[in-house]
């Protein structure tokens, strides 16, 4: 298999071409309407890079991630991962959700083991691996606790450990730190970079926080407000490893201004401060009944 390369000569992990995603929603008169959440969506994500999708809420960035994860089916276009057309669930992926999505009846260790259990790894081996990843995320000693006994930050550490434990080559993160307080958030951002620098999996990260995007990423794609497409891609040429203090460095501040210039209009549209024809509000969590096929939950 020949690996596709982009203009800069890097290997391409994910290639999205003309991806389209429509939702049918009912308007106030109860008539069905087609809303385009994604339209002419084109994107190349490189092997091993930390890539962030940045955009105002409701712009369709989570929709793209769900399509990428195989949890929702796109209406049109093509996505390929490692040169193979993506269809359904990619077993080489880990997904971290904003709402942690830990299984409350499983202890922390049992939660981290889930992916390994699904892959039918023998019990002893998966316990060892889980312990290892428990250490990696700094929760040694909390293995026998239940998720509800942990703070939000700790739960998200467990979720990260769980999605890394089966060694996926692609990590998808859907606003993983959005529900955390500012301090915990910064700590987890640094932790994530530390872990990523050890594992170098490709990460597709979703956020609406500019600072978070710049601090973490190699590249940032800014999305337009609905229908979502890529407005521009910024290179974040800050050196690594990045200390927490880099947020105050002139280069960081300059990048933030640059990115804000791109983002500003979209945020204004999204929050309704510009009188532009706005598309009707989308349900923010689309129904993934397609992905569930038959499971009527």
């Amino acid at each position: 298999m020949s690996t596709a390369l982009d203009d800069s000569g890097s290997a391409i992990k994910i290639r999205a071409r003309d991806v389209r995603m429509d939702f049918a929603i009912a308007d106030e008169r109860g008539r069905k309407q087609q809303i385009a959440a994604l339209h002419d969506f084109n994107l190349d994500i490189r092997e091993g890079e930390f890539f962030t999708l940045l955009g105002p809420s409701g712009c369709g960035k989570s929709t793209f991630l769900n399509v990428l994860a195989g949890l929702a089916r796109k209406t049109g276009g093509s996505i390929s991962i490692d040169g193979q057309p993506a269809s359904g669930i990619n077993r080489e992926q880990g997904v971290v959700f904003q709402g942690y999505a830990l299984f409350p009846w499983r202890t922390v260790l049992e939660n981290i083991e889930v992916g390994l259990e699904i892959r039918k790894i023998p019990k002893r081996e998966r316990r060892e691996t889980a312990e290892q990843f428990l250490h990696l995320v700094g929760l040694a000693g909390f293995g026998q606790r239940y998720p509800h006994e942990l703070s939000g930050g700790m739960r998200q550490r467990v979720a990260i450990a769980r999605s890394l434990a089966y060694s996926p080559s692609l990590l998808l993160m859907d606003e993983p730190f959005a529900a955390l307080d500012a301090q915990t958030r910064e700590i987890l951002q640094s932790e994530l970079l530390r872990i990523w620098e050890q594992h170098k999996t490709t990460i597709v990260f979703i956020t609406h926080s500019l600072d978070e995007a710049i601090y973490l990423s190699d590249r940032i794609a800014v999305m337009t407000h609905r229908p979502g497409r890529i407005k521009s891609v910024l290179d974040i040429a800050l050196p690594r490893p990045r200390p927490a203090g880099i947020r105050h460095a002139p280069a960081f501040v300059q990048l933030r201004e640059q990115a804000w210039d791109v983002l500003r209009d979209e945020v204004a549209f999204a929050s309704g401060h510009r009188q532009q024809p706005l598309a009707p509000l989308l349900p923010t969590a689309p129904d993934f009944s397609l992905a569930l096929r038959g499971f009527a939950i």
Partner: protein
Amino acid sequence: MSQLAASPSRRPAKPVSLLSSRQLGLQWLERSACVLLFFAIWELLPRAGLVNSAFLSPPSAVLAAIVQLAQTGQLGKHMAASLQRSLAGLILAVVAGVALGLLMGVVRRFEAFVDPLLQLFRQVSALALFPVFLLFFGIGEASKIAIIFWAAFWPVLLNTISGVKQVEKLLIHSALSMGASRGFIFFKVILPAAAPSIFTGIRLAGAYSITALVAAEMIGSHAGLGFLTLNSQEIFQIPSMYAGIVLLAVLGLALNYGLALLEKRLTRWRSGLEFHE
């Protein structure tokens, strides 16, 4: 290091009671005051002649009747018969209710198809169906177990369906995203997530099964607490009639306690959840 690691992994300690034994005693008294008052009034009414003691036996006489029943071996016989019937009906109802409930919760088409009929059936009182069960199953044990089954089946079924439907989608998405099979999602996500709701149904079913038991035992039986109650009334053994009623309540309480214990054991992860959420 081992000490450091050990400290956070210990199980959460039970909340230490700050009350002294005297305060605890007072608290107990406060909680049981109403019940004690009830027994006092019950004792007093027939003794003071306010109610005819031929109709209302005082608790002391009821207790004496229970002791006497125990001594003659009658108590064991009636208890065993009742327990056997209610447990048989209850267990059948739990097995059938959970199985059908899971199927209906997961396969939406099947639920849509069956639901109207079930809505109709659940309105049919178990007692109204008793003559039908008698026709089909005869006057023996089968018809009695059938009526208990009918009463206990519905709460299990309905709570299982609603438990399955209320499973957080995010949990299913998360399992799906890791490549989980349908079997894994069903047995390792949906079933444990629905377990608390299923148990609510089972405990309700326990209460209903006792209610139905009484009715079942009042027709064509020779043993059981319901039979004891009705039969004592017919032969005018009023204290032992009240003994039967009291023992039925005790049986119901014991069943509920046992089911609560089982629930606590099987959904142990929930302990302390109320304090954290």
